[in-house]
């Protein structure tokens, strides 16, 4: 029998199938829809993470004191140091010597030694605490990734002035903190000369206050002269990040007299951070999709079940077809294609439903994630895979029933009532 005829007969069976078959298809529909919806949320998260992180600058490298083996994870030690970012002893702090050591590396454009810490801020009789970043004004204005909303960046001759993150300006105090206003930080008066745009997302500048490093040293108590909490390096172009990062690491290990084993600093690029966060969202998506896949599995069992019943119902017809010349292979193919079609129809309806859910979902769930909107993205490849998988599931589920149908003896099948 020609393949197209087998398709026609299989389609005929599907079109005349009972409510039971449609319920079976529903099982696949739900499974596929769940996977499409979940993966689209995961993909959306990836995209928004990428968007937010790309604001951090793909050409930046950050060096911080202390070393954690699983970077980004637990930083060991209790009771050491005074701040969590500098977990260990003074001598491990970054110094001007470190900047000297890396200054001559090819590909480095700017180096900014930064100190940071929290301080109390008073504004119009209100008090709040914020993160102070002491920066080298010249380097910083070239490194900072958040644009200005108003005012200007720090200049080389600035002393008691600050540039503030968007959230500090907008929502930290009851009255918005605007340009040229004065705030008191640790008993000193500062003038706001610049307000940054909203950076959003992870590790952004929204909650930070930037001031010249020399001024910051007077405010933040526990930072020694010549010492830094971190060093930020900007390279000529993002493609150089990895090589420059390796060179910095090598130079610092020599200048600080440490080896791989007792390394006392860590060095990360925003590129690496991006990759790490993407890894996490990806793992999360795969995990959720795996759960949804279980429902597909249940759907597959449903198809197998219905196919068995269908073969049983059609036993006599199978006998007739064999009597009038159908080969075992013909029968096998008809039922296999039929179960594949069940998968196909389920898959089509499933990706339709899944796409609908994923387009409605962002409107139903707002404020998902830090200051963000839930975003869903449906890649075409996802739809194609979902469809292929459901067809394959249908056919795999149909293999045994179809094989059984093909092996029926015409005499027995004809006698079946």
């Amino acid at each position: 029998m020609k393949l197209q005829k087998s398709f026609k007969l299989a389609l005929n069976i599907l079109l005349h199938s009972k409510l039971r078959s449609w319920l079976t298809i529903l099982g696949i529909v739900i499974g596929v829809a769940a996977i499409v919806a979940i993966v689209s949320i995961g993909e959306g998260a990836q995209v928004s993470v990428q968007e937010r992180l790309s604001g951090l600058g793909a050409d930046l490298i950050t060096i911080s004191p202390g070393f954690d083996r699983a970077s980004g994870g637990f930083r060991g030690g209790f009771g050491h140091g005074r701040r969590s970012e500098t977990p260990s002893i003074e001598s491990k702090n970054l110094t001007k010597r470190d900047i000297q050591a890396i200054k001559s590396i090819d590909g480095i454009k700017y180096i900014d030694g930064v100190i940071s810490g929290s301080a109390n801020i008073f504004y119009l009789a209100e008090s709040s605490s914020g993160t102070i970043n002491g920066v080298d004004p010249l380097a910083w204005r070239n490194i900072v990734t958040t644009e200005l909303e108003a005012g200007r960046y720090l200049g080389p001759s600035d002393k008691n002035v600050i540039v503030i993150g968007n959230r500090i300006a907008e929502s930290t105090f009851k009255q918005p903190l605007t340009l040229n206003r004065a705030v008191t930080i640790e008993d000193r008066l500062f003038k706001v000369v610049g307000i940054l745009k909203e950076a959003g997302g992870f590790g952004g500048d929204d909650n930070r206050i930037f001031m010249p490093i020399d001024t910051a040293r007077n405010i933040l108590e526990d930072v020694g002269r010549e010492k830094f909490d971190s060093i930020v390096v900007k390279v000529d172009n993002p493609g150089l990040v990895d090589t420059v990062l390796e060179q910095i690491e090598a130079r610092l290990m020599i200048s600080r007299h440490v080896s791989e084993r007792n390394k006392d600093f860590s060095i990360t690029s925003s590129k690496a951070t991006q990759e790490r966060i993407q890894d996490i969202t990806q793992t999360f998506t795969i995990f959720l999709a795996a759960i949804a896949a279980v429902s597909l599995l249940v759907g597959a069992v449903g198809i197998a079940n219905t196919m068995f019943t269908s073969v049983l119902e059609k036993t006599k017809e199978i006998g007739v077809m064999k009597a009038i010349g159908a080969r075992n292979f013909d029968i096998m193919l008809i039922f296999l294609i039929n179960s594949g079609m069940v998968g196909l129809v389920g898959g089509l309806l499933g990706i339709g439903l899944g796409s609908a859910i994923s387009s409605v979902l962002p409107n139903l769930i707002s404020g998902f994630g830090p200051g963000g909107q839930l975003k869903t993205v449906i890649p075409i490849s996802l739809l194609i895979y979902a469809l292929l998988i459901s067809i394959i599931i249908g056919m795999v589920a149909g293999v045994i029933p179809a094989y059984r149908a093909s092996k029926l003896k015409p005499v027995d099948a004809l006698r079946y009532e």
Partner: protein, 228 residues
């Protein structure tokens, strides 16, 4: 001149295992069916009639002995090639009509042609011609459920003729029909025998029906007792 042999049974035994007991449904039956024969196989229920019908129709293989379909020993060919061969050589008419309920009359008649890989256009034309032959050309698009019993049986007869087989094997062809439509169907079979030169093998318990055949074979307890 000897007539061409189409189906030959040689000392055929068929034994069924019923639990612990072995039942011999056929005991050493030999039979020749020649081209142009109109044979009725009769017998009471339990005489081995159905077994005989299955074996003559090459739907089953004997426990002992040989069956030749157009000179080929059917126990020596694979199941699938036997199916194909059977489709070419034998047309079946069943008591219950056994049309595929989800296919219309034309598609039912086309089905045996499709199993033989006949091109679609040709199969459609051929099937239509045969439907016209059984006076059902105007019902080609009807589903079996939209046809009367007599019409369904005529569609089944048309289907049995599709591959232009050597033999038409009819199993109680009028068993499910009233006497009027039953005799119409019988007349159609007789016409096919006379005018188209078809070989017809009819299995029935109805002696009146059998009396229309030119040759009557009577089975009793798995053996041919008359007409062999």
């Amino acid at each position: 001149m000897a007539k061409k042999q189409i189906i030959k049974l040689e000392n055929v035994w068929k034994t069924y295992q019923m639990g612990e007991v072995e039942v011999n449904a056929l005991k050493g039956v030999s039979l020749d069916i020649n081209k142009g024969d109109f044979v009725a196989i009769t017998g009471a229920s339990g005489s081995g009639k159905s077994t005989m019908m299955n074996l003559v129709g090459c739907l089953d293989i004997p426990t002992k002995g040989s069956i030749f379909l157009d000179g080929k020993d059917i126990s020596k060919v694979s199941e699938s090639s036997l199916a194909q061969f059977r489709g070419q050589k034998i047309g079946f008419i069943f008591q219950q009509f056994n049309l595929i309920p989800t296919l219309n009359a034309l598609e039912n008649v086309m089905l045996p042609l499709e199993f033989q890989d006949i091109a679609d256009d040709l199969a459609r034309k051929k099937a239509m011609d045969i439907l016209n032959l059984v006076d059902l050309g105007d019902r080609a698009g009807h589903l079996p459920s939209q046809l009367s019993g007599g019409q369904q049986q005529r569609v089944a007869i048309a289907r049995s003729l599709a591959n232009d087989p050597e033999v038409i094997l009819a199993d109680e062809p009028t068993g499910n029909l009233d006497s009027k439509t039953g005799s119409d169907v019988l007349k159609l079979l007789e016409r096919l025998w006379k005018e188209e030169g078809k070989t017809i093998v009819m299995v029935t318990h109805d002696l009146k029906l059998a009396s229309h055949a030119k040759r009557r074979i009577q089975l009793k307890d798995g053996q041919i007792v008359a007409g062999g």
